[in-house]
């Protein structure tokens, strides 16, 4: 599928993603491969919206009629006039697929729904943008996804190159689902499971707010995006939305997919061990495995610089969790970060359990399976632990 779009008079090159982060447009075309041409018009419209939303301020005109429900959800969530209106709504299907990246979080989500098919998004080069990011090995990740033995739909796309700054990536986090949406009719999808965990969904993690966010615009079932996906009959499901990255790490490394887990985007034969992401994940893995930190990086290395400065850090709850658990951490590059916290195992033990409302917001059809899995493999938070979540950053 080829997508091209134009800006309205009030739109500008610099827009805003749903987390309020300013993003710059690079070009106004992209394509998505591996998807059928006959999807429901609402699916086309939503797939396009995941890409153009940051730059749309007042109105959007699609090349085909959409359902009144989708137009309403766009209006309620963004104040955007969308049209033309005139299609029947798409009824929800019965299958839940996993938006599978291969990282620990999506592997943990996949473990919860052992029969769910995977949809993997694979970045390909954009014909109009010089690729200055060849170290991103999407081919390696695609190969690992194929080795999982699960039913797999591979989507190829250059849509990340529509974003110029801060760097190529999903214009909205939801753009990873663009291909899955176009496949929704083919796969009879009623829900799409993402690997977003407790930090992203409830603690305002990443480049978001850094405090408790029950009404998270991006990931709450009742948030703007949650209602929009529901309007096209593909509910957003966060199977691991109630557990921390320590739990997803443990579940992933204990799962049958442990040999295919890969959170590093650079390594070929294995994780590169020297990028910022590898360092952060090593902090979590060492804490989970209760062993000393094992990294070739020193305090002088570039990825370490972040940890020499004051908090807040992205994924700060996991930093506290790691600092409290890793033996000999005071003799590693995280020594400086220790000054800013007095985290203990007790004060971070809430991160070993599941926040119950996260399971409650999964649609009934898929809730029982998540509940059974959590009960058997993780366990729910106590009222005291729940309070830790609900006062986070406040």
């Amino acid at each position: 599928m080829e997508l091209s779009f134009r800006l309205d008079p009030e739109d500008e090159i610099t827009g805003k993603a749903s987390d309020d982060y300013p993003v710059k447009l690079a070009t106004n075309s992209c394509s998505i491969g591996g998807t059928p041409a006959d999807a429901h018009p609402d699916l086309f419209a939503l797939a396009a919206w995941t890409i153009v939303a940051p730059w749309t301020r007042k109105q959007i005109t699609f090349d085909r009629a959409i359902s009144p429900g989708l137009a309403q959800a766009l209006h309620d969530g963004w104040g955007i006039e969308a049209g033309p209106v005139g299609a029947e709504p798409r009824p929800a299907g019965s299958t839940l697929a996993i938006s599978y990246s291969g990282g620990a979080d999506s592997v943990a989500a996949a473990t919860m729904y052992a029969e769910a098919p995977f949809v993997h998004f694979r970045r390909v080069a954009h014909p109009r943008i010089p690729n200055r990011w060849t170290h991103y090995r999407s081919d390696v990740l695609a190969e690992l996804a194929a080795q999982t033995g699960r039913e797999l739909a591979m989507v190829t796309s250059d849509l990340e190159f529509t974003l110029a700054e801060p760097r190529p990536g999903y214009p909205e986090h939801h753009a990873v689902a663009a291909g899955a949406l176009l496949l929704a009719d083919r796969l009879n999808l009623g829900a799409l499971g993402f690997g977003y965990e407790l930090g992203s969904r409830w603690l305002g993690g990443d480049r978001y707010l850094g405090h408790f966010t029950p009404d998270n615009r991006m990931w709450a079932a009742h948030g703007a995006w949650g209602r929009l996906f529901a309007a096209v009959g593909v509910h957003i499901v966060l199977p691991v939305g109630g557990v921390s990255e320590a739990v997803t790490m443990r579940l992933a490394l204990e799962s049958g997919l442990k040999d295919q887990v890969r959170w590093c985007l650079r390594g070929t034969d294995g994780p590169c061990r020297v990028c910022g992401k590898c360092l952060y994940k090593e902090l979590i893995q060492a804490a989970v495995e209760r062993r000393p930190l094992d990294t070739p990086l020193t305090a002088k290395s570039k990825p370490a610089q972040k940890w020499l400065e004051r908090p807040p850090y992205g994924g700060q709850e996991m930093v506290e969790y790691g600092l409290a658990r890793i033996p000999d951490i005071e003799h590693t590059l995280f020594a400086k970060a220790l000054d800013y916290f007095d985290a203990t195992e007790e004060s971070t033990s809430w991160l070993d359990h599941c926040y119950p409302p996260a399971i409650d917001e999964i649609p009934p059809r898929w809730r029982d399976q998540a509940n059974a899995f959590i009960t058997a493999n993780v366990g729910y938070m106590t009222p005291d632990e729940i309070r830790r979540v609900e006062t986070w950053g406040l």
């Binding site: 134009r6 800006l7 008079p9």
Partner: protein, 128 residues
């Protein structure tokens, strides 16, 4: 162990048969000489190759190459950055064209004094 008496003639025949299966001392000498010659030739070739490697190594003008590489790198980066600007400008040009077009539509519709809904063509998304 069992010893058996063997007739002299038979013993001799067996011995001759064994000897015929081995190389003579003279042949051995010649072989060793040949091998030695081979080793000397190889040694000469090695020396030639080594001096060739040395010559190539010193012949590479390192300083000039580095400047060239840096320059190519700078040009590539600047070109990519410039292209970013061109692509963004293209988006803005289309935006301006669409704006003019819709104003033109509005003007002609206004002249006809009967504006119809949907006559304006606000820009949006086109998928195919």
């Amino acid at each position: 162990m069992m010893r058996v008496l063997v007739p002299v003639r038979l013993r001799k025949a067996v011995r001759t048969w064994f000897d015929s299966r081995y190389i003579s001392i003279a042949d051995h000498r010649q072989d060793i000489r040949d091998a030695l010659w081979e080793v000397r030739t190889l040694r000469r070739e090695m020396a030639t190759l080594q001096s060739e490697v040395e010559r190539l190594r010193t012949a590479r003008p390192q300083v000039a190459d580095k400047a060239k590489i840096d320059d190519a790198r700078r040009l590539a980066q600047e070109t990519a950055k410039a292209l970013d600007g061109v692509l963004q400008n293209e988006v803005l040009v289309w935006q301006a064209i669409d704006d003019l077009r819709s104003r033109h539509h509005a003007a002609t519709a206004g002249a006809a004094a009967a504006p119809t809904a949907g006559a304006a063509e606000p820009a949006g998304t086109e998928g195919q």
